[in-house]
């Protein structure tokens, strides 16, 4: 696209043009081409639909679009046909022609191929993922047609920066990166800081294994993140933003690069945004495989080109962040909520979820679940609803054993806690964390001791080494686990584990060390009998432990 200078009213015009343009089509076929469906052959499916539409002579009434993820990763490649949101599962290139012939030409949806799992969507509330699977992430016009960039237009045309912060504070939105700090309050702190320039760092360093919510968001709706950054920049007075993304996400990187280029080309980013004199630009920064880089002071070090090691706070990044300047660090999911809050008002948002935890949260639902995928639920939904209603329970006739919430530093929760509402405070109370939104279901084939050991090993690898309790303490815990799983442990070791866990939690500087003992402490709290079984009877009821030695020749 040529760089053109647009003004505030032009965005509305683009939206109207796009809507008219779309209206010319009777059907729209959305083929999910995200990282989930591509390895299953989505690009071939896309090509097959394009060919079929041409062959059957319906290209004038049926549009084939390359979209992001509708969340049903279990049944990919997934294809959605609008109107009516007919979702086809496990689509192959061969089936594409049949679907076009029956559904588009004859108007008869192919019932046998439809995704029948209504429960998967029923309890979800898709706000952040509003456009996921419905728009082409590589076309900025698609986003604008869905009301995109109207929020930044509203800010620039009618709101003061203070007004924007007021709206965000009213919404009750809390940071989605895991810690849950009130977003409006954070913006206020950075806005009031005297020093200049100010920076924004958008955090897409989704390092938690088992989590892919931010990646899916970036692949499906990159402009929602950029618009959130723009609004934040306007509110706090920043002129430069960095979007820190992990290198393991090539498709998300590509999508964002394209989105930034498109936004620049129609003056939504740059020196004179929509002819208002407002100035802001975004640069991508790439992570390099360090879990700790998601921590807020570590991410600053990484953006500055150094080792991602956390530093003590205060001073807080709001006063002294990138290169010592005031910096707003925000997870991309938090940012994607912002346009909605501006469009609909903070009061509207505050009514979703629970009074103390408003809005929704995206979760990657994986492990031993019938419907793995990406879900978005209102805060306060119970774990049971997530695991059994949306997730469909445990497959292969196995029994539910535990659910792991919050990634490698989260907690393993037993079935007695299934009625727990999912929100920041409730999860913290039982020893888990919201984290970046990973829910892994474990069945009775999983050993809780082995699971805790696995996470400890992860944290040993990823500890940056700065604080001794985390660096040395985790290794000690791992050694004890080696003993327990190889039949070389005493009952007193349990006390040592507990003590070490508490020391590491209390004496570490950053979130990694403070939460690293969570899997150990929660499994000790809820599954102590399994530890005792391992130690006293040298028995592992899941059959995972005590075999390492024999196998290694």
């Amino acid at each position: 696209m040529e760089a053109t200078s647009l003004n505030l009213a032009d965005i509305q015009k683009i939206a109207e043009q796009e809507v008219d343009f779309e209206r010319a089509y009777k059907y729209r076929i959305n083929v999910c081409c995200s990282s989930g469906c591509v390895p299953l052959g989505a690009l071939k499916v896309l090509k097959a639909f394009e060919d079929a539409v041409k062959e059957l002579g319906v290209e004038k009434e049926c549009k084939v679009a390359r979209t992001g993820c509708p969340g049903t990763c279990a049944v990919g490649p997934a294809v959605m046909i609008e109107p009516g949101d007919y979702l086809y599962q496990n689509v192959t290139p061969e089936k594409a022609r049949e679907i076009v012939r029956d559904h588009v030409v004859l108007g008869l949806p192919v019932k046998e191929m439809l995704y029948k799992n209504e429960a998967f969507y029923k309890k979800q509330q898709r706000l952040v993922l509003r456009n996921a699977g419905k728009i082409d992430p590589q076309r900025i016009q698609d986003y604008i047609a869905m009301g995109g960039y109207s929020a930044i237009v509203k800010c620039l045309a009618t709101m003061t920066p203070q007004g924007v912060i007021y709206e965000v504070s009213t919404s009750g939105l809390r940071g989605r990166g895991g810690a849950g700090f009130p977003t409006g309050q954070k913006w206020g702190l950075v806005a009031r800081a005297h020093s200049k320039p100010k920076y924004i760092v958008a955090n897409l360093d989704e390092g938690d294994p088992g989590v892919f919510a931010n990646r899916t968001l970036a692949e499906a709706d990159p402009h929602a993140i950029l618009e959130g950054m723009l609004i934040a920049a306007y509110a706090i007075g920043a002129e430069k933003g960095y979007l820190y993304i992990r290198s393991e996400y090539p498709l998300a990187i590509q999508t964002l690069q394209k989105a930034i280029a498109q936004a620049r080309s129609i003056s939504l980013l740059g020196d004179n945004i929509l002819e208002t004199g407002f100035k802001f630009d975004v640069e991508l920064r790439f992570g390099a495989g360090a879990f700790v880089a998601g921590e807020e002071t570590a991410i600053l070090a990484s953006v500055e080109g150094r080792r991602a090691m956390p530093r003590p706070r205060p001073p807080y990044p709001a006063n002294s962040g990138l290169w010592g300047k005031p910096t707003l660090i925000q997870n991309v999911e938090t940012l994607a909520n912002i346009p909605l809050i501006i469009q609909n008002g903070g009061v509207w948002f505050s009514k979703i979820g629970t009074p103390r935890c408003t809005g929704t949260k995206c979760f990657s639902l994986t492990g031993k679940t019938k419907n793995p995928g990406l879900i978005e639920v209102p805060m306060g939904i119970t774990l049971r609803e997530v695991v059994f209603d949306i997730g469909g329970g445990v497959p292969e006739g196995r029994k539910f054993k535990a659910v792991l919430v919050g990634g490698p530093s989260g907690g393993c929760l037993p079935d007695t806690l299934l009625e727990l509402p999912v929100d920041y405070d409730s999860l913290t109370r039982v020893g888990a964390i919201m984290g970046s939104g990973g829910i892994v279901v474990l069945d009775d084939k999983s050993c809780m001791v082995d699971t805790a050991k696995f996470f400890t090993e992860f944290c040993v690898d990823e500890s940056c080494g700065r604080c001794t309790p985390c660096r040395a303490g985790l290794i000690r815990i791992k050694e004890i686990f080696d003993g327990i799983t190889q039949g070389d442990a005493r009952v007193e070791d349990i006390t040592t584990l507990e003590k070490a866990g508490v020391y590491i939690r209390d004496a570490s500087l950053c979130g990694l060390g403070q939460t690293a003992p969570n899997p150990v402490l929660t499994t000790l709290r809820y599954f102590k009998d399994e530890y005792l079984e391992h130690i006293q009877d040298k028995k592992c009821r899941a059959g995972k432990c005590f075999k390492n030695k024999e196998e290694e020749v």
């Binding site: 279990a74 088992g210 989590v211 953006v303 492990g367 793995p372 690898d461």
Partner: protein
């Protein structure tokens, strides 16, 4: 111009684009790895000199981040995802089978440099766990049999030397 010169020129271009700024060190290392495949000692010394940074700083950064490879990878690279979902779904068993079949450990290459076995912490393919990447192709919902067969295919008949 020799291949070496061309590569060096591409690296120089990248450093120049970033004004030889210290803050672009990660970006420059990423680019260097793209160009050369891995970061050896000479290359890191070269970058340190060009950016006027102490070698200890450049080595510190390169060794801190696990994405940077300091050893030459094998001709074919198998990467096992050791993320939570893959682990729960039994990726460990597949990894052990590969280790046994080719007599290598995780993080190693066969002595003739034909095959490397690496691990990564989550590639985000959790809904299709377990995931194993063979060269650039991801195998979703992998099983021992499928993965071993695929490795045999990419190796094309010649079994790598084992120790």
């Amino acid at each position: 111009m020799s291949t070496d010169d061309k590569r060096r020129l591409a690296l120089e271009k990248s450093m120049k684009e970033h004004n030889y700024e210290e803050s672009a060190l990660l970006e420059i290392l990423h680019r260097a790895q793209e160009i050369y495949g891995y970061l050896d000692k000479e290359l890191l010394m070269d970058i340190a000199q060009s950016l006027h940074l102490p070698p200890s700083h450049v080595f510190g950064v390169a060794t801190f981040y696990s994405y940077f490879k300091l050893k030459r990878p094998g001709q074919h690279v198998i990467t096992g995802c050791l993320g939570t979902a893959c682990y729960v779904k039994g990726v460990d068993e597949i990894m052990r089978a590969i280790e046994k079949e080719y007599n290598i450990k995780r993080g190693e290459s066969t002595p003739d440099g034909k095959l490397s076995l690496l691990v990564t912490r989550c590639i985000g393919a959790c809904a299709m766990a377990p995931a194993i990447v063979v060269d650039d192709e991801m195998i979703a919902k992998a099983t021992k049999e499928v993965v071993l067969q695929k490795i045999k295919e990419v190796l094309g008949g010649d079994k790598p030397e084992s120790r």
